[in-house]
């Protein structure tokens, strides 16, 4: 466990490594967003940029949470507490999206005729 001095000493290299990964991740996000040659989808911002950007951000966030915040070896109660927050925040996002784009009314999710105006489109 990270609470004894020996364990703390051992994990210092991990912390440094994670810090470096975070720096690299940040540079990567910016490059992906700003260099046209690295575009995956269309030219300019599109849904792929959003997915890629958020994926990198989530990875970074996970590293911070698991290594810096010691979630890789925490007590059960902490997982329950933080997990409950995460579950409801996901519910918040999901239901907001559902309320905004109803699959029965809106063709955001299901668009057989291909005529719907996508919200992101100009």
């Amino acid at each position: 466990m990270a609470d004894t001095p020996e364990a703390v000493r051992k994990s210092i290299r991990t912390y440094l490594f994670v810090g470096a990964v975070l720096f690299v991740g940040t540079v990567l996000t910016v490059l992906v967003a700003t260099v046209p040659a690295l575009d995956i989808g269309h030219h300019g911002f599109d849904v792929w940029d959003a997915i890629l950007g958020l994926a990198i951000a989530s990875t970074k966030a996970a590293l911070v949470a698991f290594i810096f915040m010691h979630l890789n070896h925490e007590k059960k109660a902490v997982y329950w507490i933080f997990g409950s927050g995460l579950i409801f925040v996901i519910a918040l996002f999901a239901l907001f999206a559902l309320a905004k784009y109803d699959p029965i009314f809106d063709n955001f999710f299901y668009d057989p005729t291909g005529t719907a105006v996508k919200p992101m489109a100009l």
Binding site: G19, T26, T29, V30, A33, F88, F93, L122
Partner: protein
């Protein structure tokens, strides 16, 4: 009495109290920022204007990200040093962390400040113009308002001949401002007629203020006092009169419902009149000689001959030409116009070329033509590089709406420098602070523009008011900034006042630093999401 498990963890949960508490707090913080980010999603998906994607300068955000990540690493090291018993190293790492927080906030402040001084305007035809306003000048010197600040050339100008104040709601700073302006123009604001009122029941009216008395807060306060006293007195009398009427009406109509007799129950106004006091809801002042007064657009609903301030002051006088004058236009944005044109089924290019700006301003026209050429060049390049999609027959990659319809300051710089888009030379300082207007004045990079008042749909500085993107950007980053400050204060407390505790109870101090560190990591975690979402998407 001693609370258990403050320092040592409880056996079955394995946690000390404050660690549970901080995780609970973080869970609620997740919900708080979750609320904001879900609002962001909701607003962005539902926006009825082109979302200003990738609109912020990336460099300050990127540097701030580095700073915050760095501080996250150092705070872990500070905690580790405590665990290993190195007070000296703890101080160094914690010092770096707190310094990082301070630098972060300074950069944030610079970013905010640039925005707060940047003006945007949305015209009636949805053309958006951004830039810097000029200041009102007389004989080459700026005019100052009653706070001693320069006045921007974005005022409602009225040739004022009279001001009528609401006795209850008048706003004192605006009266100061009116007096300052009158003095500046050599006019006087004075009462046009005596203000007289019955202040004691049954007595003749007495004069509260005489015709010719000059406007002052004290005068208005005096009238207000008399008015409120009269209002209270009259209200009381009228209430008891109405009660009496109802009593009689009830006695005369037994068994009837209120609503069946209410139309016949009225106060006998004539009988009551001698006992009433005079209410003075408003006081009229004359401005002599009539002169030009400036009002901030948000404070006033202007009309041709009569306008009204937000505090219910009525302003009589002719509305003058009140243009909004850009000293430097640093961006012209047709995206919103184009979006509306597409919705209506109009070719956006035609719509843009028929817009007020293109028709009336030479510089804008030139910029637009230049931009069209640039877009065509880009279109060609993309076609050559990526080719055509075989299924649809359309080019695989096309210029974005932003590239087509927005002429930003870097484009204007490129045009003035005579190079293609993205080949302009911009200094690091400009990446941070926005364009160097004075330095680029020689090349006439940023045109001058005067926008007539009646062409304006909405105008604002780049504050939360400008659009929902800036609203959510400022709210989230502002709240994040408050978290940074709060966290830094706690960390600084352990840095500067932790020594004593380190000597008496190092374990406890380590716990507290761990808990504060958890909060600090969370602050970093929010930024990890905020940076790409607000700066890169």
């Amino acid at each position: 009495m001693e609370i258990p498990f403050v320092v040592q963890p409880r056996k079955d949960t394995g946690l000390f109290n404050s660690k549970i508490a901080i995780w609970l707090f973080l869970a609620s913080e997740v919900m708080l920022f979750g609320g904001f980010f879900s609002a962001y999603v909701f607003l962005r998906l539902g926006a009825d204007y082109p979302w200003p994607e990738r609109t912020l300068p990336v460099l300050p955000g990127l540097i701030n990200t580095f700073i915050l990540i760095g501080s996250s690493v150092t705070v872990v090291f500070a905690w580790a040093s405590l665990k290993l018993g190195h007070w000296g190293r703890f101080k160094i790492f914690m010092g770096i962390t707190v310094a990082c927080a301070a630098i972060f906030m300074v950069f944030k402040g610079i970013e905010y400040n640039v925005k707060f001084h940047h003006q945007g305007v949305r015209l009636k035809d949805y053309t958006v113009i951004e830039g810097h306003l000029g200041y009102e000048k007389e004989n080459g010197k700026p005019v100052l308002n009653h706070h001693g600040k320069k006045i921007e050339e974005n005022q409602i100008l009225i040739e004022t001949s009279g001001l009528t104040y609401n006795t209850v709601r008048f706003h004192k700073p605006w009266i100061e401002e009116a007096l300052t302006q009158a003095k500046h123009r050599g006019s006087k604001i004075f009462l046009s007629a005596d203000v007289s009122a019955v202040t004691k029941p049954g007595q003749p009216a007495e004069t509260i203020a005489k015709a010719g008395d000059e406007l002052s807060v004290a005068l208005l306060e005096r009238v207000k006092t008399a008015h409120l006293a009269a209002r209270a007195h009259n209200g009381k009398l009228r209430t008891s009169a109405l009660r009496q009427e109802w009593k009689e009406a009830k006695a005369a109509n037994p068994g009837k419902r209120d609503w069946q007799i209410s139309s016949g129950v009225n106060i006998d106004t004539a009988a009551l009149a001698p006992q009433l006091l005079t209410e003075i809801p408003s006081v009229a002042f004359k401005v002599d000689p009539p002169s030009r007064f400036d009002f901030k657009p948000r404070d006033i609903k202007h009309g041709e001959t009569q306008s009204r301030l937000r505090d219910d002051t009525s302003v009589e006088g002719k509305l003058l030409d009140s243009p909004m004058v850009f000293h430097y236009v640093d961006a012209i944005d047709f995206r919103h116009l184009a979006m509306r044109a597409v919705k209506k089924g109009v070719d956006p290019i035609v719509a843009i070329e028929n817009s007020w700006l293109i028709k009336n301003d030479q510089a804008a026209r030139e910029a637009w033509e230049w931009n069209k050429l640039q877009t065509a060049r880009l279109e060609k390049e993309l076609l050559e590089q990526y080719g055509v999609d075989e299924k649809t027959g359309k080019p695989k990659r096309e210029p974005t709406a932003k590239e087509r319809y927005r002429i930003g300051w870097k484009e204007l710089v490129a045009k003035a420098d005579g190079v293609n888009r993205d080949q302009q030379k911009v200094t690091i300082k400009e990446e941070f602070m926005g364009p160097d207007y004075q330095g680029r004045e020689g090349k006439h990079t940023f045109p001058h523009l005067s926008v007539p008042r009646n062409e304006i749909r909405f105008a604002s500085k780049f504050t939360p008011a400008w659009n929902t993107y800036y609203a959510i950007y400022f709210t989230v980053t502002g709240l994040h900034g408050l978290h940074v400050i709060g966290g830094a204060l706690v960390l600084a407390y352990y840095l500067f006042f932790g020594r004593k505790m380190y000597e008496t109870n190092p374990e406890w101090l380590a716990n507290r630093v761990e808990v504060a560190g958890l909060f600090w990591h969370f602050v970093d975690l929010v930024w990890i999401f905020a940076f790409p979402i607000f700066y890169l998407m």
